[in-house]
């Protein structure tokens, strides 16, 4: 029962933090005077929103890696697919305001001399369909990939390598112009979302708040999953896969289910990311992006959910500062951080913090118990 109350406290902290951010950032941006130290400048709002998207992405990786032992080094692919699904919608919203002023075709298609919209762009101008694609596209890829990988009992480092190959293959495919997604340049020059201009401060604030809400709901979903009996089976698979199988659980079905849920969360993160950064291109599929996600989770604390959020925020804030101050050293710092965490803090910031806290509590309990026994002796 004790662990349960600790977890609940964690949920309160996470939700409280996100609710606070969703309320305070708009206040400090809009209502606090510009020269005040508390003022959140306009350019910071989408940056913070981007961090929240990365946090949701990290959460999706923690769900499969931390709780089911599936180390995906290709989760950036699901993020990018979600991003592309949203990018297609935003592209269609441009309409005749594009450089070539074509009423239907996005600029890059006009430039490539395409006469009509490819079939997979149909319906992308309808927001509900776009939202559906945001979760369906990554979900279907995860289903196809996971079906073969998990049924063939590919595990461990081999699975990691083929996830990496998957995202690399997608990157190469999306680089090609005839793939139909803008090739090298990807999708960009967005104008508005649901009729609201993307450059406007208010739209950016709303996107920030929506990101915070999505992260909060994503966290609650993951928390619910890992605390159900389903989640206990996941941990059982992580720790003793064969044993779980001999208990009668079809391990591959569990892995597939959680992999799809995770891919959908990653897709959602990508969809929220794209309107805030204003571009999606094949670079998002790059293998190193996917590895970075794993580092966020490892730094924050694998298998804790809140740790993934914390790790994503801390590492990305560090990255923003570093790439501004010492751009050449960022990759060294990131690599060094990963080595440091793996060697000295294998449980990440949150896990190590929890350990210290437990030890302190134990010590204080001992201190409390000691006088009681000495009194009893008298």
């Amino acid at each position: 029962m004790r662990t349960r109350s600790v977890l609940d406290r964690q949920t309160i902290v996470v939700i409280g933090f996100l609710a606070g951010a969703a309320m305070l950032v708009p206040i400090f941006n809009g209502l606090v005077a510009q020269d005040s130290a508390l003022h959140v400048p306009d350019h910071l709002v989408p940056l913070l929103g981007k961090y929240l998207c990365f946090a949701l992405l990290a959460l999706s990786v923690d769900l499969i890696w931390g709780f089911c032992g599936i180390l995906s080094l290709g989760h950036g692919a699901f993020f990018a697919l979600g991003g592309y699904a949203m990018g297609m919608y935003l592209m269609r919203q441009v309409g005749s305001r594009g450089v070539y002023a074509h009423p239907v075709l996005p600029d890059f298609m006009v430039f490539l001399n395409w006469q009509e919209l490819p079939w997979f762009w149909y319906g992308s101008d309808i927001f509900p369909i776009a939202v559906l694609m945001v979760v369906l596209a990554p979900g279907i890829l995860a289903l196809a990939f996971g079906w073969f990988a998990f049924r063939s009992r590919v595990t461990g480092v081999y699975l990691s390598i083929i996830t990496q190959a998957m995202t690399f293959a997608l990157m190469l495919a999306f680089f090609r112009n005839d793939m139909g997604f803008g090739g090298n340049n990807g999708l960009t020059d967005f104008k508005d979302i649901l009729g609201f201009p993307l450059q406007a401060g208010s739209t950016r604030l709303v996107l920030f708040v929506v990101s915070a809400i999505a992260l909060g709901l994503g966290y609650l979903l993951c928390r619910w999953l890992v605390e159900s009996k389903f989640g206990k089976v996941l941990v059982a698979i992580r720790d003793a896969e064969n044993r779980t199988r001999f208990l009668g659980y079809r391990v591959e079905r569990y892995k597939l289910t959680v992999f799809i849920i995770s891919a959908m969360l990653a897709g959602l993160a990508g969809a929220l990311y794209v309107p805030q950064v204003g571009i999606i291109n094949p670079g998002e599929f790059a293998p190193e992006n996917s590895i970075e996600i794993v580092i966020w989770v490892a730094v924050g604390g694998r298998g804790t959910l809140a740790g993934a959020i914390l790790g994503a925020l801390v590492v990305n804030a560090g990255k923003t500062w570093f790439t501004g101050a010492l751009p050449e050293f960022w990759l060294f710092a990131l690599g060094g951080l990963f080595v440091f965490v793996t060697l000295l803090m294998p449980r990440g910031i949150l896990g190590t913090g929890q350990e210290l806290w437990d030890r302190m509590r134990q010590r204080s309990q001992l201190h409390q118990a000691a006088p009681a026994t000495s009194q009893a002796a008298e």
Binding site: L225, S228, K232, V235, A236, A240, N242, R245, G248, Y254
Partner: protein
């Protein structure tokens, strides 16, 4: 050729398993009845573990028949399906879920629907909780129910694993070296527990410890080089010249 219908609960006939030319099982035949306890002995490499692997679906035999309840073909089913039929297995080294509490270990093992969607919405019923209490009591872990399984002693883990087996409500239990690493008292208690279980379920015990096998007092099958060397009461088996030869070296 149709499979012979047999009254035996477990029926293995002419099972052969080869790994890269090495015959781990060589035309092995064995039948175990309902509510029978059988001890399997044999030197290292006799094929005891491979036999368990065949019964639980981990290894597919190259040839032979393996029937459960006279009609289920074990060679055509996967591990999960065989577990659901009612065959539970305890491994040689205790493999419990170390990060889960003792109670959750039993809960995961307990007989219930195994699909992802069933477990997602599963709720513990009062009847299940009652059963948990009973099981915890039976394997003497009531006081440890909330502890992580990883914190238990070796003997306790062995018992927890037996408890997990029972929670599955199998018809046949395969138990690999239950007494390994146990104190004398724990070993004696384990004998009692297994004899108690065998009053209602079939149990196959693989064991090296001869005193333990003697205490069980059941029919013994001695394996050697993948086939049955001798079968019968322990005294008869241990008096068998070939058995003595195999055990004492050629």
């Amino acid at each position: 050729m149709t499979a012979p219908i047999t009254p035996a609960l477990l029926y293995l006939d002419n099972i052969t398993v080869t790994f890269d030319g090495f015959r781990a099982l060589n035309a092995l035949s064995l039948a175990v009845d309902h509510a029978e306890m059988r001890a399997i002995i044999g030197p290292n490499g006799a094929g005891k573990t491979t036999m368990m692997d065949v019964i639980t679906g981990k290894t597919r035999p190259n040839q032979g028949t393996a029937l459960f309840e006279g009609s289920h073909d074990l060679t055509a089913l996967d591990e999960a399906a065989i577990a659901e039929l009612g065959i539970g297995r305890k491994f040689q080294t205790p493999t419990v879920f170390e990060m889960h509490s003792v109670e959750d270990n039993l809960l995961l093992a307990s007989r219930s629907r195994r699909g992802p969607f069933s477990t997602l919405f599963a709720r513990q019923t009062p009847r299940e909780r009652e059963r948990m209490d009973m099981l915890l009591d039976r394997v003497r872990l009531t006081a440890h129910r909330r502890r992580k399984a990883g914190e238990l002693s070796h003997g306790q883990k062995q018992w927890l694993e037996i408890g997990m087996l029972l929670a599955q409500e199998p018809k046949l239990l395969l138990i690999d070296e239950p007494a390994a690493g146990m104190t004398d008292q724990e070993t004696a208690d384990t004998v009692d527990l297994l004899r108690d279980i065998a009053t209602t379920k079939a149990v196959i015990v693989v064991e090296h410890d001869m005193t333990f096998v003697r205490d069980l007092g059941v029919k013994v099958t001695c394996l050697h080089e993948g086939s049955v060397l001798a079968e019968g009461p322990l005294d008869a088996v241990s008096a068998n010249e070939r058995v003595v030869e195999v055990y004492l070296g050629r």
